[in-house]
Symmetry: C2
Subunit: 627 residues, 2 copies
């Protein structure tokens, strides 16, 4: 890096590679980008028709995009690229009352935000099964599960001990046995104190393995693996022939403890970490672990045979397993090459101890023995998705493009510019064992001049690309709130949401008949068991003013409200003026919130979700009598 002028472009490339890069980087003429695009598409009309979903018709795919530091998941329809829903996960969201209701407040705990980097749809036999969506919080070391029957976050696990920024993580094994959470940052285990000057001795990397109980709708930490003090990034699970194994990328094998921009870009090679999760699972079952901060920690150096390193070009991000399970593909972002690795050769090399040394006690598999192909894809290669015809699509951050190549032959087939700087991409069913091969969405980090300006902060940009033919065709640009990091696209008919919560008369705190609505007082605790129904509240059926709640200053008040409108799309809400309380109550649902009535006075309350022509009249009062 020395002697290279710093800037946006030049410092990324080590000297040896510069010649190659220049040759590759400019075969797309950027200035003719828009016209080039149009000529590929034919007339614009065809893209318009391909993406237009007329009123009354439905999209054919769901796209679940992580919402980055918004802490949310964004749900899009494809091909229209319309955002249908925001699912709050790691951040309160008032329209849904998420973070206000008793249950969601408890689930969020002390955190009011997270950085939701990765999502993954649950899988059965390597196919998206549409049951649940998992998500990770790189900021506060959490994992979440969203039930795709209700599109609601049903559990948050964490902060998970010993982890520091599970960057990728939410990818699932082929039968959803595990969500893996490799740690982005090394740190002393368990938030102990040690200065960064002790980085090499005291800091560790950790990978967590989390499981989900689909019946109880609960996540739990199964075990962890202690790793060298490097940064762990993306990961993917083996499939079919490689099932039982997984691979993750790692950088900063330099073990720099400051200014990683320079310090973590010194070595020509970093590593992929190959691990046998089925093997580790058995070791842990046998008791081969040490409990650290409540986590069962497996040490792959003490018990060799489960974790290996494979050299990769410097500073890799992505590593992706091909749908057939035969290969894994990774690139160093500071090299123009994607390497296709062979799983069979990898297993053989492990068997034959075909190693080229070791790092931090972990064997390094000989690169040449497992490399299938090296493909010149372009500048800044990050992540790879797949179609149904043996092709890979690799995003190029620096080139602002996507390269298509055949991963068996290594032949480059096409390259399309995107606007601008793509991170991940998501192909239709693209992480499953059987991608659909029709759509690819490029998740671009910069949009620059793509949309009407909204000030100095620009939207992200999701671009829909037609990958059904030999040549890729740009179809649509959709702006996005910050900051979709990853996404998965699933056939619409795999998702089967409920329309109304079942009428469960045994549900705690629920009331199903207007005449049963009542208020219970025990000392200073006032519990309202109320009903929301078009278009009024009933808190106390026996009162002359059934929509008025009278309490004394200092009382602890809890509203439990059941929406007995069991009709599609009839959601009610309850907000109380000045008390900062708020809930949404979907049809058939019961929700609650609690607060101390510390301010005396008259506080109007109202339904917050437009529910009928008389929604505006769906009001009442909280009367707090002064002490």
């Amino acid at each position: 890096m020395k002697g290279v002028k710093k800037g946006w472009f030049t410092p990324l490339i080590s000297g040896l590679l510069v010649g190659v890069l220049i040759a590759v980087a400019f075969f797309v003429n950027f200035k003719q980008l828009n016209s080039a695009n149009n000529s590929k598409l034919g007339a614009n009309e065809s893209a318009a028709e391909k993406t237009y979903v007329p009123p009354g018709k439905l999209d054919t795919y769901y796209l679940f995009a992580s919402g980055g530091h918004s802490g949310n998941v964004f749900v899009y329809g494809v091909p229209s690229m319309r955002r249908i829903r925001t699912i709050p996960v790691f951040t309160p969201e008032s329209a849904a009352g998420y973070g206000w209701t008793t249950e969601t407040k408890k689930m969020l705990g002390k955190f009011t935000w997270g950085d939701l980097h990765h999502v993954a749809i649950s899988e059965t036999k390597g196919e998206y099964d549409g049951r649940a969506l998992f998500a990770t919080d790189i900021q506060n070391n959490r994992a979440a599960a969203i039930d795709l029957k209700t599109f609601k976050t049903v559990d948050i696990l964490g902060p998970i001990p010993n982890l520091n920024g599970p960057h990728c993580a939410a990818f699932v094994t082929p039968n959803s046995e595990y969500i893996f959470l490799p740690t982005r940052f090394s740190a002393p285990i368990g938030h102990e104190y040690a200065d960064v000057s002790q980085f090499k001795e005291k800091y560790k990397g950790v990978m967590g393995a989390v499981q989900y109980d689909f019946n109880k709708k609960k996540l739990h930490l199964a075990w962890e693996v202690m790793l060298p003090p490097w940064s762990y990034d993306l990961s993917d699970a083996g499939k079919k022939t490689s099932n039982g194994w997984a691979v993750m990328s790692t950088y900063n094998t330099e073990e720099a403890n400051t200014t990683l921009e320079v310090g973590a870009s010194q070595n020509d090679r970093d590593y992929l970490v190959i691990f046998n999760w089925k093997g580790i699972e058995k070791e842990v079952a046998k008791g081969n672990y040490k409990v650290i901060n409540g986590a069962k920690m497996f040490d792959p150096v003490k018990t060799p045979g489960f974790v290996y390193l494979v050299p990769v070009a410097k500073s890799p991000h992505g590593v992706d397993v091909t749908p057939d399970g035969n290969y894994y593909i990774s690139s160093g972002k500071l090299s123009p090459t994607a390497t296709v690795y062979d799983w069979k050769k990898t297993f053989k090399a492990i068997q034959n101890k075909d190693f080229q040394g070791e790092a931090r006690g972990l064997p390094i598999i000989r690169y040449e023995s497992v490399r299938h192909k090296e493909v010149e894809v372009g500048l800044g290669p990050l992540h790879t998705q797949f179609d149904n015809r043996g092709n890979a699509y690799t995003t190029l951050f620096i080139d602002s493009a996507i390269t298509k190549f055949n991963y068996k032959t290594g032949k480059v087939i096409d390259k399309i510019p995107v606007q601008y700087a793509p991170g991940h991409a998501a192909a239709a069913e693209g992480d499953s064992v059987s991608p659909d091969g029709n759509y690819l969405v490029s998740l671009n980090k910069l949009s620059k001049d793509s949309y009407l300006s909204v000030g100095p902060s620009h939207p992200e940009s999701l671009q829909l690309i037609d990958i059904s033919g030999e040549k890729m065709k740009m179809l649509y640009s959709a702006p996005a709130d910050p900051e979709p990091h990853y996404a998965q696209m699933v056939k619409a008919d795999k998702i089967k949401p409920i329309e109304v919560y079942p009428k469960d008369t045994k549900r705690p705190n629920s009331v199903w008949k207007e005449k049963d609505a009542h208020i219970v007082r025990h000392g200073k605790n006032v519990d309202v068991y109320g009903i929301a129904v078009r278009s009024h509240f009933v808190f106390d059926a026996k009162s002359k003013t059934p929509d008025v709640v009278r309490v004394n200053q200092g009382d602890k008040v809890t509203f439990h409200i059941t929406n007995i409108d069991l009709d599609e799309d009839i959601t009610h809400g309850l907000g109380i003026t000045s008390y900062n309380e708020n809930m949404e109550i979907q049809p058939g649902e019961t929700n609650s919130f609690s607060f101390t009535a510390d301010e005396s006075g008259v506080f109007p309350l109202a339904c917050t979700n437009f529910c009928s022509a008389l929604h505006q009249e769906m009001t009442g009062y909280l009367l707090v009598k002064p002490k």
Copy 2:
């Protein structure tokens, strides 16, 4: 209402009107809705082409939609209906660090949500001028100003004393002299305690008049008007010939204090409230007010001649002044008729004291004297927008349709079904003195089967309608997060955002050169004056570890960070693991957050906004040494 079976549809209509309503309600055949739509449009292709904005091209209008109980404003592009931006206003939003930074945390105060019902673009001579956007919080009695140079909320005023749910409110007078905030709920003034049984004696309605200083970017309460204990709803300012006056709708003139669904639907007529704001302004300037809870309260009963009532069909929502300023249109939502009122006749009736009585001390202008036309528009008429050819477009909540009529002749021209239950609509420049007459967006409260299901809670639905011809044509359906209540559509070229914050070396706490980044300690206070630049942080330029901050447990730590990347779209962020702190720093901006370092240990920190190929390496550590 007695004896009428309750349900979605039937209870809304009082006996006398049923015959008329049935005749009107079903001239649209709902089951043939989709095909009817298509036949009106011609081929779907034309709608696809009309709404498709290809990559590299820009929309021609901004649509600013209120985000309801999300507390946000949503910004769309028209005609593509793509959501370009979410502007956080009354609710924290972690992607923008809104509610975490020192400034925004102070602005939000104790409230973590609001119900953002109305937006209004600032006006000059009755034209949208694109300088600012105003918004109201119906939940916590606040008003906000958004600077359209930066698309950021720059001030929040409130809770404003004596108000209880300013429902409409954010409409502005023709030169942005005032934002009016009429109160939805009556209550004892100043949160005093009085039971609802004392409603008629102790409860009051209040209208607040707020001003904005465009230079200081600050809102302030100018004065208030005390009103009868009714519910005040929508409102609009006079224009041109009617400038200086304004009109708002009111319901619950029955003064019901419970179960308004029934209680507020007894009278056949409610009122519009006509007020002379220029006159009141002068009275207040002369000192004709009483200070109540810090507000200058004007009493229109004590000082007659400024506030009048006009009868309107029962339970009105909307009231809208025509672009020429000659008429105002209102409808009772429980009657199928829209009334066009004549401003000149209104002024004449006031002059001639042509009254039909009084209510609560306010004169009631004789309906027949000011009525220009009664138009049979359909079931559940709510709000009206305008084109450039003398036509009005009234939303019909119950009919799920929009009726177009000529407001001078009263002739109904067309009716189009929408999906479903529209509240407001927004025409291009539709609240200004010169609407454009090409697009109308219908803000629908129910979407039912319009989009891929996302569980029991459905998205709202914005539908784009071509109003350039005699017949309206449905163009596009866009799902929306809950819950756009109102919107304004403005020509794109009127909005002139900045791309980068100016390099202001005198800005407090800013640092502009890497070498100047430093840390200051005073006792337990640690202030970090740092820099974010692609792709590293500099907190302490003199340290060997410039991206590491070392503090002691219990210290009060403040990070002040300046983004010195003065390039378009290069936003940085700073998040600290486990500490729940987070900020966004736009190009050229300085932001700060503070926290007490109460937990000891090693806390990785990182840039949260993907900024370059080495964004992933833009990290550091907060080291908190244990006590």
